[in-house]
């Protein structure tokens, strides 16, 4: 996909010129055909999931498969969301508490730490950067028990604190990503700001962050998706079912209806909607690229 993305990005201006001259039409046909075929390939699993959610149990495993469900069986959705033991609205509210608490924490802490790695000088900076990278390399499973013991001693079990508080202390993935991005921002802008008497925080606030909106949007989307799908951590720290998140609810549901694929697919399809909504909101940050006006002509 990465090979096609740049040409799309470059295209608008060029395509305009080319169509004026009557050229490039074939190019465009080839390009769009390729993009459409690839999109279909990637959409296929989702189509299959939604398709299965609208079929009766008997039709799901029919071979050759029905490509359009007949009859359209909405009952799966009713079955999925009228289960009295699984209050999905409550789960949804709980998950949103986590989303807001964790994403705001990650964005703020990651920007601060990443700026330090990208720009500020301190003894042992490179060593600390390796330590940061090393945290990816440790299998996460190893940390579960020590973390659980720590949060247990703090009395944070069955609260959202073990999930939200660490997010406010940086997250290695976001830090690494932001650091890479900050390194591509030319220093001239900051030097000019320093001349005008800006301190580090105002540089961060007025130069670095506005220029980084695309990457901040990426971190928001990816974090939203991870928190939304995270099943294990909430399950580990939360005991009472009124505090459960959507993904735990879905997993319980999975256990309850092992044979009923239809309702499961229905629930999974609905679970995708918030992630898609967040993606489309964040996508607006991508639509306009950024322009470092004033220094590019050098």
């Amino acid at each position: 996909m990465s090979a096609t993305t740049p040409s799309v990005r470059l295209a608008p201006k060029l395509r305009f010129l080319q169509t004026i001259h009557g050229q490039g039409v074939i190019n465009n046909i080839v390009l769009y055909t390729l993009l459409i075929v690839l999109s279909l390939v990637f959409i296929f699993p989702f189509y299959w999931m939604i398709l299965s959610s609208l079929k009766t149990d008997a039709n799901i495993f029919l071979w050759p498969p029905q490509w359009i469900p007949n009859p359209v069986y909405w009952e799966n959705y009713v079955t999925a969301f009228t289960n009295q033991y699984l209050p999905f609205p409550v789960f949804f509210k709980n998950t949103m508490i986590l989303e807001v608490g964790m994403i705001s924490g990650r964005l703020i802490s990651c920007v601060l730490v990443a700026y330090g790695f990208a720009r500020l000088e301190a003894p042992g900076k490179n060593f600390l950067f390796m330590v940061l990278l090393a945290t990816f390399m440790l299998p996460g499973v190893l940390l579960l028990i020590p973390k659980y013991i720590l949060f247990n001693r703090l009395g944070w079990i069955n609260t959202y604190l073990p999930l939200i508080v660490p997010a406010w202390f940086g997250e290695s993935y976001g830090i690494f990503l932001l650091r890479q991005f900050f390194m591509t921002i030319p220093r001239e802008l900051e030097e000019a700001a320093i001349m005008d008497g800006a301190n580090t925080f105002s540089i961060l606030r007025h130069i670095i962050v506005p220029l980084s909106t695309p990457v901040l949007a990426v971190i928001t989307v990816l974090s939203f998706k991870d928190i939304w799908n995270d099943f294990f951590n909430p399950l580990l720290y939360l005991n009472s079912s009124t505090k459960y998140t959507v993904s735990i609810g879905l997993a319980y549901f999975n256990g309850q209806f092992t044979v009923q694929t239809g309702p499961l697919m229905a629930a999974s399809s609905v679970m995708l909607i918030p992630v898609i909504i967040v993606f489309f909101i964040a996508q607006r940050a991508f639509v306009e690229g950024i322009s470092l006006t004033g220094i590019a002509g050098r």
């Binding site: 990465s2 299998p139 390194m183 990426v218 990816l222 690229g289």
Partner: protein, 181 residues
């Protein structure tokens, strides 16, 4: 969660290939194809990398392209002389993360090999990844100490590989902020 969402697909993919008269292989029960099956599934997990690339592309100063165009650079030249170098920090990030992720492959292989082949790491050890072996030692063999030692060895291996990539980055990663005046 994702592997489980993708689970019903294995049938349809072969069905799709059949439309073109290709006999789909027994993806996850034939040792020859199991690993390829897993590799083929990887692009569906690459949405994150793609988003990151997109953000990286959007972070490239548009004026650079305009200036290059005025100077008569064609599409390919602009791609190799502007896009790739300006994107190299992003490429570097994705490279490091994917290497680390691949060396720790576990979830997909775990789900698929147990569900399809019936044995962890199967069929015939074709999907026996390092982490699967660690899991096997720890929970099937109950050799927790041995498994922990394996975990640390993997950590060391990943560390060495990452360090090599990090060293190599001075040759191909371009940081605008480090530009010499």
């Amino acid at each position: 969660m994702w592997t489980w969402l993708l689970n019903p697909v294995y049938g349809p993919i072969d069905g799709f290939l059949n439309l073109f008269g290709i006999q789909g292989p027994q993806w996850f029960t034939d040792p020859k194809y199991a690993l390829w099956g897993l590799i083929m599934m990887a692009p569906w997990g690459a949405g994150g990398e793609m988003l990151i690339f997109l953000a990286g592309l959007k972070g490239i100063d548009k004026n650079l392209y305009e200036v290059a165009q005025i100077d008569g650079a064609n599409r390919l030249t602009r791609f190799f002389r502007i896009t790739i170098p300006m994107l190299s920090p992003t490429i570097f990030f994705n490279l490091v993360m994917v290497i680390i992720g691949a060396l720790q492959s576990f979830d997909t292989a775990y789900v698929i090999s147990t569900a399809r082949a019936g044995t962890l790491g199967g069929p015939a050890d074709s999907t026996l990844f390092y982490m699967i072996y660690v899991y096997n030692r720890a929970f099937a063999g109950f050799k927790m100490g041995y498994a922990s030692a394996l975990g640390w060895i993997l950590f060391a291996i990943i560390m060495v590989i990452t360090l090599l990539v990090l060293r190599s980055s001075t040759f191909w990663v371009y940081y605008e902020a480090e530009r010499k005046h």
